[in-house]
């Protein structure tokens, strides 16, 4: 660890607070992940990744920078990673999942802002995130009102923010807007990296990202087995690491875990006993180290079999078609792929309900836990229709509103346990 002290100082991190953060992540990881029983051996890779969360990966980013590559930070699954990779840049997710620096953040944004946004400010202001500090460009995106207004002041804070506009309807005009924004983004990156988009580099970028997605699809499908061969917490972790790891190495690690899980399924082995209650998680994204609700679920004897969220299937769901022979046509294919994302900022967003139901069926879930971050209006409002829609078809739903604090653990446990009792009876 001491090897990295100098690197962290050079990035301008606050040593004391940063030490405390790493300590907390380490402890929480120990309690929630390492204490799990019957984990697949392949998860050791992720244990290593987490133990080096601010170490080795940051060194890799800095090495890439030394070679002249650029590091692009993102907050949203709408940022087309294919383009970033095509231009020889590195893509890292910056979403933060801890209640840190909130007081300082409240000098920029109101108290009743969602934890996800507050945490992005908190991590910057508390000087604890080496990823933010290592970026050459941070991409903000106009999804919800909270984010788009917050990015106005975030830009002043970080100094290297680029804001991408996003459509709010799945219309032709909306699609044209997305295309225009991706073109602008590509031009911005070309200027930053000094590399031009070509059919070859774009196809290569698409291939790399598609391979990552295919590995996640493979992993997702294995969770339909009974008993389930891997815990939901472990898969959620993989989904979180998906956003900042080296993509080729990540893909290989997931595929290795899948090989192991196929063996487990053949042997009838699982992490939880056969017929354990199965829960599909749906709703807002969960950034590292936001493991609160999944921890409550799996410590109460139920197992998560899927995540309908950005850190889950909403993020990795569709592949990008690379069947085109010009840069512009390939960009159209990229737009086609991203335009399918069922984010709650779209109106209407009915396809999301169908996707949740499809996932319930595919992964044989007994019920859906809808998770909203408090003050996230798009998901909180949609939660009500999701609940009505699913309950009508006999799918039990528990809708939970919470934030990054720990003080509602008692209430959460009661609700989750009662929900598990309900789906068992």
């Amino acid at each position: 660890m001491s090897d990295y002290k100098e690197m962290w100082t050079s990035l301008g991190l606050d040593q004391q607070t940063h030490d405390a953060v790493l300590d907390l992540v380490g402890k929480t990881y120990q309690e929630m992940f390492l204490s799990q029983k019957n984990r697949p051996k392949g998860m050791e890779y992720f244990d290593f990744v987490v133990s080096e969360i601010h170490g080795l990966r940051i060194r890799e980013l800095l090495d890439a920078k030394a070679e002249g590559r650029k590091v692009i930070g993102t907050f949203c699954v709408f940022v087309p990673e294919e383009i970033v990779l095509a231009l020889n840049a590195v893509c890292v997710g910056l979403c933060a999942g801890a209640e840190l620096g909130f007081e300082a953040a409240e000098e920029y944004i109101p108290r009743n802002t969602c934890s996800l946004i507050k945490s992005a400010f908190g991590f910057k202001l508390a000087k604890v995130c080496p990823y933010i500090e290592a970026t050459d460009l941070i991409v903000g995106e106009n999804t919800c009102d909270g984010k788009k207004k917050a990015f106005e002041s975030y830009g002043d804070l970080v100094g290297n923010l680029y804001v991408m506009d996003l459509p709010q309807t799945k219309s032709e005009a909306g699609k044209a807007l997305l295309k225009a924004e991706y073109l602008k983004f590509a031009a911005k990156l070309e200027e930053l990296t000094g590399v031009e988009l070509t059919v070859e580099n774009l196809k290569k970028g698409i291939e790399t990202v598609n391979n990552k997605r295919k590995a996640m699809h493979r992993l997702a499908e294995l969770r339909a087995a009974n008993p389930v061969p891997i815990s939901g917490l472990d898969v959620l972790l993989a989904n979180q690491v998906y956003f900042y790891d080296n993509p080729e190495r990540f893909t290989a690690s997931i595929n290795a875990i899948c090989d192991e899980l196929e063996q487990r399924i053949a042997n009838g082995e699982g992490v939880f006993p056969k017929d354990a209650p199965r829960i599909l998680l749906s709703g807002c994204p969960m950034a590292v180290p936001n493991w609160k609700v999944p921890g409550v679920i799996e410590n109460s004897g139920a197992i998560m079999v899927g995540e309908e969220m950005c850190t889950g299937e909403r993020g990795f769901r569709n592949l990008t078609d690379d069947g085109a022979n010009t840069v512009d046509e390939l960009l159209d294919k990229i737009v086609d792929r991203y335009f399918e994302i069922d984010c709650a900022v779209f109106t209407p967003n009915k396809k999301r309900y169908d996707h949740i139901k499809e996932m319930v069926k595919k992964y044989k879930a007994d019920g859906v836990l809808h998770y909203s971050i408090q003050f996230c209006q798009p998901y909180q409002i949609e939660a009500m229709s999701v609940e009505k829609n699913l309950e009508k078809e006999g799918i039990p739903v528990l809708s939970v509103d919470t934030d990054y604090s720990q003080e509602d653990m008692g209430q959460l446990k009661t609700r989750v346990e009662a929900f598990i009792e309900r789906i068992k009876s």
């Binding site: 509602d408 209430q411 446990k413 609700r415 009662a418 009792e421 309900r422 009876s425």
Partner: protein, 252 residues
């Protein structure tokens, strides 16, 4: 065969003993800063074959005693189903939670809702408001019932409601009208939660707050239908646990 149930709540701890499904003992004591010590004192001298725990201290209890654990939702559903078999909707107002549960004829949970992390509409809210009005809990209820109408309380937050009340009194508002208004704000909050589970069939009202006759009477006025309150509303969770212990033995 004696089966026991214990409900370790935020304000009180309740215990029930059943012998052949008949209640042979029940007791309610105030919780303290050391819930396990209180449980120990409460159980001392009682003999039973097995026990099930619920309430906020349920897991802590199971760490110390050989005990089954069920959620308050399940416990209240089982308890009410025995005490008031016709009830299909349950409102439980406890110290720090308000819960609405929809159950079937066998006492199985169909749907439930709980208040968010906030004291508004809970038993503790009523206690704090009674204190702000300088009433003891009995006076608080009788005075509220005697008021001709309700003052309108807008704040849903316990802290803000207290200052709203203080400023009402400062403006010369009638104390009993304010008391009635407070009851109505709790009812409004409870109704919202009950509607989310679907207000079906007979309604049972339990938990510590159900000891308040005023709350029951005013709720009946709003709902325009009778509200059933079990003889000992506070022990329904402990009763449900004892029933669960009993059924476990039958299963074995």
């Amino acid at each position: 065969m004696i089966s026991a149930g214990i409900d370790i709540g935020s304000r009180t701890i309740k215990v029930v003993l059943l012998e052949n499904r008949e209640m042979i003992f029940s007791k309610v004591v105030d919780n303290t800063f050391n819930p396990m010590e209180t449980c120990h004192a409460l159980l001392e001298g009682l003999s039973y074959d097995n026990i099930t725990a619920t309430g906020y201290g349920r897991h802590l209890f199971a760490d110390h005693y050989r005990s089954e654990v069920i959620s308050e939702i399940k416990a209240f559903s089982l308890g009410i189903n025995q005490a008031l078999p016709t009830a299909r909707t349950i409102l439980d107002i406890g110290g720090q939670d308000t819960k609405a549960i929809s159950i079937d004829e066998k006492g199985r949970v169909r749907k439930f809702e709980m208040n968010d992390k906030c004291a508004a509409g809970t038993g503790r809210f009523l206690e704090i408001m009674a204190m702000a009005l300088r009433y003891n809990l009995d006076e608080f209820g009788t005075e509220a019932l005697q008021a001709a109408d309700s003052a309108s309380i807008n704040s849903m937050c316990a802290v803000f409601a207290e200052s709203e009340i203080v400023s009402m009194l400062a403006k010369g508002e009638d104390r009993a009208r304010v008391a009635r208004g407070i009851y109505h704000s709790v009812i409004k909050k409870s109704m919202a939660i009950m509607k989310r589970v679907g207000l079906q069939g007979d309604i049972a009202f339990a938990g510590g707050a159900a000891k308040s006759t005023a709350l029951k009477i005013l709720m009946e006025e709003v709902l325009k239908q009778p509200v059933l309150v079990p003889e000992q509303p506070q022990i329904m969770g402990a009763l449900g646990c004892a029933i669960y212990s009993d059924a476990l033995v039958l299963d074995e």
